[in-house]
């Protein structure tokens, strides 16, 4: 009996300490959790800070605005209520690629609940894009599909008969359909953004309220200052203000509309038409399978404001590289 009592005594003494040690071993993660909680709280505080504006009444010649110091957390913390904006961007290797992706990433870093789907026109995912995406900190999906050579644009002529980026956008649509099943309650908006356009931050907030398909004006397309949908007094789209074939079913640029994710998922056969598409009809090839003109929702103050510009970047002059290449080819640009 004494022996048993001894053992019991030993056990009773040792047991709490062993439990404590195991628990403390797990708690090596506790400080990390504490930091994580702090980060989240900080983010919310600072995101609110951006709304405060202070204007200095100053003399008319020099206008100066001094704001309270705040730094955006990059990217903004994820919200459980905002619908996610899935941005589909096809990209391909050329000298300005890294520059374009860098500045468009700087834009996206301001938008909350953004999911960037970047599809490369290549056989394999390039390390340039892989490391760029990782360093931005954005929420992203990196895909790739190579356009067969007979579809590719010859040289750098913008031949509208061969639509660039079609296979890449279709791959993204397929990925979305495979990832999000129809019964999923996650609200989302799908937007096709090219990597050389310019976007204002207001645009992303306008498109978040899309129920089916929303539209807005786009600058510098169709050889005009801007192309725009025609909106009647009832707030419905009845036509297109465009010169280049205004009788297209949807005379709109890729950057001029956004689609609700539910609509994409409910019509799994809707894709961009790959072959036999006339110049300027690519957008119509997808949209006509999704909506009618009547269902379109005009945004940007009933299509009176420009929130996206179809800018194009000049091809850089590389004459001084010569035949063999003057600069170090290992330097990533």
């Amino acid at each position: 009996m004494p022996k048993r009592r001894d053992i019991l005594a030993i056990v009773l003494i040792v047991l709490p300490w062993t439990l404590l040690i195991t628990v403390w071993h797990q708690s090596a993660i506790a400080p990390l959790l504490a930091i994580r909680k702090d980060e989240g709280a900080e983010g919310r505080r600072e995101a609110g800070g951006q709304d405060s504006k202070e204007y200095c009444a100053s003399d008319k010649d020099i206008v100066e605005v001094v704001r309270t110091e705040y730094v955006y957390t990059r990217p903004p913390p994820w919200s459980d209520v905002l619908p996610t904006i899935h941005i589909i961007t096809p990209t391909y290797s050329r000298p300005v690629q890294k520059a374009e992706l860098t500045r468009i990433a700087n834009t996206f870093l301001h938008v909350p609940n953004l999911h960037w789907i970047l599809i490369e026109d290549s056989q394999r995912r390039t390390p340039l894009v892989t490391s760029l995406l990782r360093e931005t900190g954005l929420n992203y999906t990196h895909l790739n599909v190579e356009t067969p050579k007979n579809f590719k644009v010859r040289g750098d002529t913008r031949d509208p008969r061969i639509p660039r980026g079609t296979m890449q956008r279709n791959l993204a649509l397929r990925w979305l359909r495979e990832t999000f099943k129809n019964n999923n309650s996650q609200p989302g908006i799908v937007y096709f953004a090219d990597d050389d356009n310019s976007y204002s931050l207001e645009l992303f907030e306008e498109m978040r309220s899309t129920r089916k398909v929303s539209v807005w004006p786009v600058a510098f397309v169709g050889g005009l200052r801007y192309e725009s949908p025609k909106v009647n007094a009832a707030g419905k789209v009845y036509g297109w203000k465009a010169v280049f074939d205004p009788h297209r079913p949807f005379a709109i640029d890729m950057a001029g509309f956004a689609i609700n994710l539910k609509l994409i998922l409910s019509k799994p056969q809707a894709y961009f038409k790959l072959r036999g598409v006339k110049g300027g009809y690519q957008e119509s090839s997808l949209l006509r399978e999704l909506v009618t003109l009547n269902d379109l929702e005009p945004k940007a103050a009933n299509c009176t404001k420009i929130l996206v510009w179809h800018t194009r970047t000049e091809k850089p002059v590389l004459v001084n590289e010569g035949k063999k290449g003057f600069t170090d080819p290992n330097m990533e640009i």
């Binding site: 009773l12 709490p16 403390w24 797990q26 994580r36 300005v96 834009t107 800018t311 000049e314 330097m331």
Partner: protein, 354 residues
């Protein structure tokens, strides 16, 4: 072994018993007390980590949120590490409470893509703390487009304007390299900066870096952190300029020895406007240093820098000038054939829409 342990436990028991006897307590009570205390401690420790246990039962969105926040944390930690590495060891430590301000001087002029360029440039600048944007319009009057844009931008800014003299201006058909552009505007920015700093006495007001940024280039965020530690003039590679993939200073032993460029390497400072930054102190110490509009093509940067530093004193950044953090992109002029055709008919698109 067990015998030894049991003997030890017996000894312990005896000791505790004597102590208890002294305090007139039963042994059992002591044991119970000890057990309770250790149990309390354990429960308290578990509570501290309680969140982790609860997480296992949370639904998926919260989990995803946490993993994303975790990614952010790792990324931020990585960034902090990068920043520490980028900082140069200084003898005089700047005040740790505030970062030195980066004054960005950007000349701009009205053209179709102006608002688009300024919009995406401002989106980059919004990520940079302590940045003061000095935007100088090439115009006799401040335009409402730029004024309204700056007000809504959310940046700390100064809006200036100065028109370029007619003979210095590029005409419609001129190629962009014919005459130097933005000279008066940049000089105006420097002049304003010097005036403004006079009203801010004390050492803190002299801290800062001046950078000349054109509105169509592309800047990575890391660039601004690299230039913050400029003591005199810092330099780095620029992509897509000079007819090459990139132009760069060549660094040996931490010093710039020559320049890697394909065009006129005999210039005193053969680099692009976007490839260097000047410390505010140096700008204020040389009140006459400005850009010379009469300088031959490509010598604009040299006209400013030769009065400020020698090649020997240049500070190389971007990992000893091995990384490209800024690109000299240019935006195409949008084709307006149809617009022009429409305007002839009197049906041009509403000019009131910006």
């Amino acid at each position: 072994m067990l015998g030894e342990v049991s003997s030890i436990s017996n000894l312990l028991e005896e000791e505790i018993a004597t102590m208890a006897a002294r305090m007139k307590l039963k042994l059992k009570t002591v044991f119970v007390l000890y057990f309770m205390v250790s149990l309390m401690g354990l429960i308290y420790a578990l509570m501290q980590l309680g969140q982790q246990c609860d997480c296992a039962e949370h639904d998926l969105p919260k989990d995803r949120a946490i993993s994303r926040l975790q990614e952010e944390l790792y990324r931020l930690q990585g960034q902090i590490r990068q920043l520490e590495k980028a900082k140069q060891p200084e003898k005089k430590q700047p005040p740790k409470s505030s970062l030195s301000t980066i004054f960005v001087i950007t000349p701009t002029y009205a053209r179709l893509v102006q608002k688009a360029e300024l919009t995406r440039l401002s989106q980059t600048f919004l990520h940079v703390p302590q940045l003061h944007w000095i935007l100088v319009e090439d115009s006799p009057r401040k335009t409402s487009l730029v004024s309204n844009f700056l007000m809504k931008s959310g940046l700390t800014y100064t809006h200036l304007n100065i028109p370029t003299a007619k003979e210095r201006k590029l005409q419609e058909g001129d190629p962009s390299w014919l005459k130097p552009r933005g000279v008066e505007q940049r000089n105006e920015g420097l002049r304003w900066l010097r005036e403004d700093r006079k009203t801010e006495p004390g050492d803190n007001g002299q801290q800062g870096v001046v950078y000349f940024a054109d509105d169509d280039n592309t800047y990575s965020l890391q660039l601004f952190e690299e230039m913050r530690s400029t003591q005199r003039v810092s330099v780095w590679p620029v992509g897509l300029v000079g007819g090459m993939k990139f132009e760069s200073p060549v660094v040996e032993g931490g010093k710039v020895v020559r320049f890697h460029t394909g065009w006129r390497p005999s210039r005193p400072f053969p680099m692009d406007m976007a490839g260097f930054a000047v410390s505010l102190r140096l700008v204020l110490a040389n009140p006459d240093a400005c850009f010379d509009g009469e300088a031959p093509m490509g010598f604009l940067e040299s006209s400013l820098l030769k009065g400020l530093v020698t090649v020997d004193e240049l500070e190389p950044k971007a990992d000893n000038c091995t990384k490209v953090l800024v690109w000299h992109t240019r935006t195409e002029k949008p084709k307006m054939k149809r617009e022009e055709a429409l305007q002839v008919q009197g049906l041009g698109s509403d000019p009131a829409v910006e």
